[in-house]
């Protein structure tokens, strides 16, 4: 009995000790730890941000612990409690839900740990001022970029559809920017339907299939990210309508860039995850240096169309 217990303890300890060693091997002098939780680490966009943050923070002697929020706001809140208990030096948060993350942010702040948000803002009324700085794409402006691309590609007339993701504040802003740009320019494009594509390929494929049934006469689709846009493309290709429906995505992900090059998408307003990751780490470092920080640091999005894709080494290297 006792021996078995000892053995079990040893095995548990060994597994955990191994995992610790593996992480600390590449950064010999560690000053502290930064906890970060992303809404979905299976999404390559966030994976890249987490990796870039890890690299950038290591330059200053900080280790980044990146956890997956797995699209579960309650899980993310308990991750923030754990960061607070462990007394990390900073927490970078990319919330699943801009409102419910507030309770976790309050806990981290109460433990004296500076909180930074990236990509998705914290909107909970009693917590948003606790965030030292937000670093993210200018999603509203990115939506405007998408609208400009859509107007150009469709000749500014006809019916269009939007595949949105209302769970995410950054995606809401994209759609808002898109609509605002159409309105400001007195566009003749008519938005006939707006459905939730879940930001994923499979779901967007089926939603788009249904849209084609309900509105066979559409001339364009704006999808709030590339997976959604590519799902829409799959549906449109299956229906044999690729020649008369244009698709605008968002992100300029590796797959999105390739799709633009193959003329599956006409444009995918480019986000800069590296800038976002580096910017977040820099904001923390500036905070440690006692500098004044902007409450919101926005990184503008840029057009990524066929011309941009032709000689783009990042596309060929399958990089963001």
């Amino acid at each position: 009995m006792k021996r078995r217990l000892l053995l079990l303890t040893f095995i548990f300890g060994f597994v955990i000790a191994c995992s610790k060693k593996e992480e600390s091997a590449d950064a010999p002098e560690i000053k502290g730890k930064i906890g970060t939780t992303c809404m979905d680490l299976t999404n390559p966009f966030f994976k890249l941000i987490a990796n870039e943050m890890t690299k950038e923070a290591a330059k200053y002697g900080y280790e980044v612990v990146a956890l997956d929020g797995a699209n579960d706001s309650a899980k993310q809140n308990s991750q923030l409690s754990d960061f607070a208990a462990q007394g990390y030096d900073a927490v970078f948060v990319n919330s699943v839900d801009s409102q419910s993350i507030g309770e976790g942010v309050k806990k981290v702040h109460a433990a004296g740990i500076p909180v930074f948000s990236f990509d998705n803002q914290v909107l909970a009324a009693d917590a948003k001022d606790l965030v030292i700085s937000h670093i993210g794409s200018d999603n509203f402006q990115g939506g405007e970029v998408a609208a400009a691309a859509m107007m150009k590609a469709t000749g500014d007339k006809g019916k269009i559809a939007i595949l949105n993701l209302p769970e995410s504040s950054s995606c809401i802003l994209r759609v808002d920017g898109f609509k605002s740009h159409l309105q400001k320019n007195n566009s003749k494009l008519e938005i006939v339907t707006e459905l939730n594509g879940k930001g994923r390929r499979a779901e967007s494929l089926s939603v788009m299939t249904d849209i084609l049934q309900a509105h066979p006469d559409i001339v364009g689709v704006f999808a709030i990210n590339d997976p959604s846009a590519l799902g829409a493309h799959a549906a449109i290709a299956k229906a044999g309508r690729t020649d008369d429906i244009v698709i605008v995505g968002f992100d300029a992900s590796p797959a999105g860039k390739q799709a633009v090059f193959e003329k599956k998408l006409v444009d995918t307003p480019q986000q800069f995850p590296r800038k976002m990751a580096v910017g977040t780490v820099e904001a923390f470092i500036k905070h440690l240096e006692g500098e004044d920080l902007e409450k919101k640091i926005f990184i503008p999005c840029e057009h990524y169309d066929y011309e941009a894709s032709v000689d783009d080494p990042s596309r060929e290297a399958e990089q963001w």
Binding site: F12, K20, G32, S73, A74, N77, A85
Partner: protein, 449 residues
Amino acid sequence: MNLRLKSIFNDYGMVIILLVLCLVFSLLTIQKESPDSPSAARAMAEEIIRAVGPEDTGIALGAKNTSSADFVERVMKELRDLENPPTVKAVVGEPRDLRIALEELAGSDSELTIMVATGDTAKWRILEQIPDKFPQFASTKITKPEEGLTSAFLKPSNLLAIVDRIVVIAVIAIGMTLVIITGGIDLSVGSLIALAAVVSTTVMKAMGGLDAPNHAIFVGFAAAILACGLTGLLTGAVVAWLKVAPFIITLGLMMIGRGHARGVTGGFSIYQVPDGLTWLGQGKSLGIPNTVIMLLVLYGFAHFMMTQSKLGRHIYAVGGNREAARLSGVPVRSVLIFVYALSGVMAGLGGCIQASQIATGDPNMGNMYELYVIAAVVVGGTSLAGGSGKIMGTLIGAFIIAVIQNGMNLLGMKDFLQLIVFGWLIIASAAFDQLRRHGGLKPLLSSPS
């Protein structure tokens, strides 16, 4: 006596695994922490007195909201009690506050001779940059108090965080244990969490939102628990009368519940709720967190019901052999309806707690929770075949899951590794329990069941 001890040991052997896990995580999360004892504060005060002359100034640095802020306060108190207190400025806040304090000092004639950087403030980069940014302070002595060792896992705030993390799953696991003991399963509980959370918060929103009176919270919770209880009643009725497999009916309700949760809210989360909502999941009564009280009361009651009451014996009987139970006069249908209704009520309560914990009703809450609940029950020693199981075992099972999750986060384990280790630890816990029950591998291999 010895026999009795042995039987307790056999019943709740999972306690050992829980304790082993706690021990391992306590040891692995030992880290340095700034001191906060009175003697350390006195020593620090003495060092300051030695360094700060009559014309000089010193700075005691603490990080906002941390123990270092309290330590600075202690040091300052020691200094204030002196006859001729030296000029020492307490700077408690962010690095920015230190910069501002230094800028102010740079304008005065006083010389800054010592700066005490306690706790996390020792890592502030502004300290390294003083020679560049404030050349006049380049020779200032920066001292960092000796750090002591402490285990992050064993910090009271962390232990309470473990309870907070598991309370929803543990509460629902009570109902699930009963369902599984009758030989059934309830897959709908994860969705019912979301349903309860959005129903309760929707009611609160309708009754005034942020300014809703406190009774709106109770009305909201009651509506949510009632809705989930009725769902459970329906499940029980279908299982008892139509003899539909519980797996299928609850799988259907899992989708229906999720769909309604999204339908009620239009897919958005509801955050227009009164402040009082957080009382249940975050508040305290008599200094004890409500979540802890709730777990103790609910588990105490369920334990009593399962071990002392006729209903408890009936539940075991239905799971052991339904036909035999029926023939010996157990009201099988009523028992089935009761356990599923209770499971629904518990899921409803769990959803209310979850909504209270994050002050939001999110229709995507509780995704996959049914599996964690089932895992807690099974790790706690209840057989999926029905007929056997212990309520207190389930509580321990739930804590095992929570401790593993918490410990891995504390260790900063990478995400993919967490999944792998978590999976193996669950399997290892359950396998170890089987070995222990049967007294080793040999008897287990030779026993027919």
